[in-house]
Symmetry: C2
């Protein structure tokens, strides 16, 4: 029983705490192949909830799901010059199939722009076929030298959207519309606040004209890239010759976008909300929103407590709450309380013989420790008050994370000021957007350029602004931070 | 426009008709890698509907979803002797990753018993951990020499359930419970009637003690295996040393099962219901259940027709019908009628100026051609009558397929009788269950042993019954048929 008792406190060792939580809360386990992981049911249910939040938003904006193959001929990856340069070092390559060596090696998809490019060239003939708005839910493989559960794994799950448009403006609009969906799902569903921004040329997707990103601050102030949306210009359109006849019957290349969000999001949720005791899950995605812990001594008490617990469960399930009763024998209530706290269930309902008598339950919030987070709720009020309580917790988690983040964002006026705060916060600093300055900063501080936030002056390269490192004209203000 | 006009009639060339339907109805397309396919949105939506029908039934019976890795070390595949023998010829092998040659080649999963086996050995300690009921939705790869869209592809999508139990009986019950779920989804949701049966030793899963199957008859009388559920005995439990302490504190091996249903089901639906004009989709899984074809001449008519069409659409969407309005310009109503018939939409609603005036629509059934399938429905009755009509169509398709199948099932009393009917029906014949007789039958007639149907005398090897081929004692009556 001691094994489940707790995790390394977050305050003691953040990195070990993270690995402990992932494994002890049964979110994931290591797989026999290094860099791969098994997503266990509790972790996968989190992902299913994130998936459905994204999927319904994609569909509501006119996107349709499809499925493209796992294998890509090596020659396809090589068609777009930047693309192959970016991905070649991370590829897994199939050389044998069906007992023989293959004529051409096959790449296990690291991303599917090339396959979509080939298909779109075939499927798109005229402006009537545009826009083409397709998404797929799939696994992808990028060889990972320093793997970390959920955050960096050789294989991961994601969705990848690929769209083609008649005009540049439409494609840019799509890129930003998707960025808004990612931001909304991250903030409203995962309670993870984000900064929307534009990546520097060094950090953008291999083959994109522009990459937009949502960046979040984890509990140790490090940054995590939550999802990216790429404006691909006509790069893939030209590499794969994706053309259409416009309304004046002229042949033109399309404009394309691509965008993805991954199982890494589960890692972001853990690291944003977790505390010394383990996970804290936002109600909107928690596999179990309220857990009932029955408390009894005699067999007679057991019967009445379980009967009442089942009533409460049905009542709350009827209003759409995801419920669970901890029916395990031979474990003390205290053990169970710790266990469910570690697993991050937002609300705990304690039901003992006195509660049965009083026809009420003791409800405890995971996010508010001690007496302050507890309240007695009469059974008649449960169906109204538990959903309201869950909403309150959802908002409280977002508020707490936002306050924590905002208190660790610093506008810095010099490179020295940046150096002073890196590791304990993010610095917003004038930046020229060149790889040279980013390499220097990374080497000297380990911080990377997270993004040029979109909420600054929308005119890039403002007059008179100089890069804090090299003194050349700045492209804008960019956040620098240690990152996962 | 001619390109969409039609498919090769089914009556003319069944095989070409199938490929035509798949491609022209936009269900799937060929991929650059031979044997792989692109599932297009219309085909994927069918799969999504099949998926959710299965997924909710798995969850209702206590199964949880997880995700296991794509890559399996070659040595794992080799742990169960029959398993490796069965799968080795079909493997895709990754030999290079991250720019270097790997120490041990990795297999792209053809199925995941080995990975689940390894994990279960780690996760299961005591009888309290049982049963372990996990499913995953995933892609798998089995190298395919004679690929066919949906029916046989090198990569396909499926779910694979893997369960572990304390007793043999429980594991057998699970195997059959899942078989019932498969049969229900096939019949009630896909309107594809099935025969539940047991595979012969030659046809069972590599590593199973027993394989149960659902077998369906396609429109050309060939058989198609719809899904399989395997009782694995203690084969994998012993190969991976999956043990538990039972209630008397004795160490025992678990009993395991595995079961899967695949994207091949889409092929079964096409081949069961399709006709000369193309697809006919059962309403329960049709991505579009009713399509509105607006008919107009003048701009004024266009406005009022579209306004009315949108009202009808909203009204029917409000009662849960999946609707679409064909808003395409420059195509005649006749062209659109053919197009939606080819795509198998169960109900067509025609709306012209006279319908606007009369506040009614002309509803046509895809499954009943000509006037007989048409009726005028007043707008006030749509919300009640269209759902009823869809149910009627669902039942009619199942009934039609069942009647067709039953009229082509033959109880045969000798091998000669079997020979006479193979190719135009299935023969039910006493069979010894040996590979020798099956090989002989296959060589001489091309028919394979589909299954020993479960609805015969449940006592296998009935006294006095002799195999119709070799004269040795029969195990039971088995169906033989040409099969996909």
């Amino acid at each position: 029983m001691a094994e489940n008792k707790g995790v390394t406190p977050r305050s003691e060792d953040y990195s070990r705490w993270y690995t402990d939580v992932v494994q002890k809360a049964d979110l994931a386990d290591y797989a026999p192949v290094r860099g791969c992981m098994i997503i266990k049911p509790y972790g996968y249910e989190l992902w299913e909830n994130i998936k459905s939040a994204l999927d319904c938003r994609f569909k509501a904006t006119g996107h349709r799901n499809a499925y493209f193959p796992l294998f890509i001929p090596m020659s396809y990856i090589e068609k777009e010059a930047e693309h192959v340069e970016g991905f070649k070092p991370e590829l897994a390559v199939v050389t044998h199939g069906g007992g023989s060596e293959l004529d051409e090696p096959l790449v296990v998809r690291p991303t599917s722009e090339t396959l979509f490019g080939e298909a779109y060239a075939k499927w798109i003939q005229s402006y009537r076929d545009l826009p083409m708005l397709i998404n797929q839910w799939a696994n992808v493989v990028r060889w990972e030298m320093r793997p970390r559960l959920f955050l960096r794994t050789t294989e991961f799950l994601w969705q990848e959207g690929h769209t083609a448009h008649a005009t540049r403006d439409e494609a840019v609009d799509e890129t930003l519309k998707i960025l808004d969906i990612y931001a909304e799902v991250s903030e409203k569903v995962c309670a993870v606040p984000v900064i929307k921004g534009r990546k520097s040329p060094q950090e953008k997707f291999a083959g994109a004209d522009d990459t937009y990103t949502i960046e979040s601050m984890m509990g140790n102030t490090w940054a995590l890239q939550g999802a990216t949306s790429h404006f691909l210009g006509q790069n893939f359109a030209k590499a794969f010759d994706i053309t259409f006849l416009d309304e004046s019957n002229e042949l033109q290349h399309v404009w394309t976008t691509s965008w993805g969000m991954t199982t890494r999001t589960v890692g972001a949720i853990i690291m944003t909300h977790g505390d010394d005791k383990g996970l804290r899950l936002p109600p909107a995605i928690a596999p179990i929103q309220a857990v009932i812990v029955p408390i009894w001594k005699t067999d007679e008490q057991r019967d009445s407590v379980f009967e009442f617990a089942n009533q409460v469960k049905s009542q709350l399930e009827a209003v759409g709450i995801r419920m669970h009763i901890d029916e395990r024998d031979g474990l003390s209530p205290g053990f169970k309380f710790n266990d469910w706290e570690m697993r991050g269930v937002p609300v705990r309902l304690e039901i003992g013989p006195r509660d049965v008598e009083g026809q009420s339950v003791m409800a405890g919030r995971r996010d508010v420790p001690g007496k302050e987070g507890k309240q007695i709720i009469p059974v008649a009020e449960l169906a109204a008050r538990i959903p309201a309580l869950l909403e309150e917790i959802q908002e409280a988690l977002l508020r707490e994370a936002t306050e924590f983040r905002d208190s660790n964002l610093h506008e810095v006026n010099s490179y020295d000021e940046l150096k002073a705060i890196v590791g304990t916060g993010w610095g917003l600093m004038w930046h020229c957007a060149t790889p040279e300055c980013e390499d220097k900063i990374k080497e000297e501080t380990k911080a990377t350029c997270r993004c040029f936030p979109l909420d600054q002056n929308p005119e890039w390269s403002p007059e008179g602004a100089k890069c804090a490192v090299c003194g050349e004209p700045a492209f804008g203000k960019a956040y620098f931070a240690r990152a996962y």
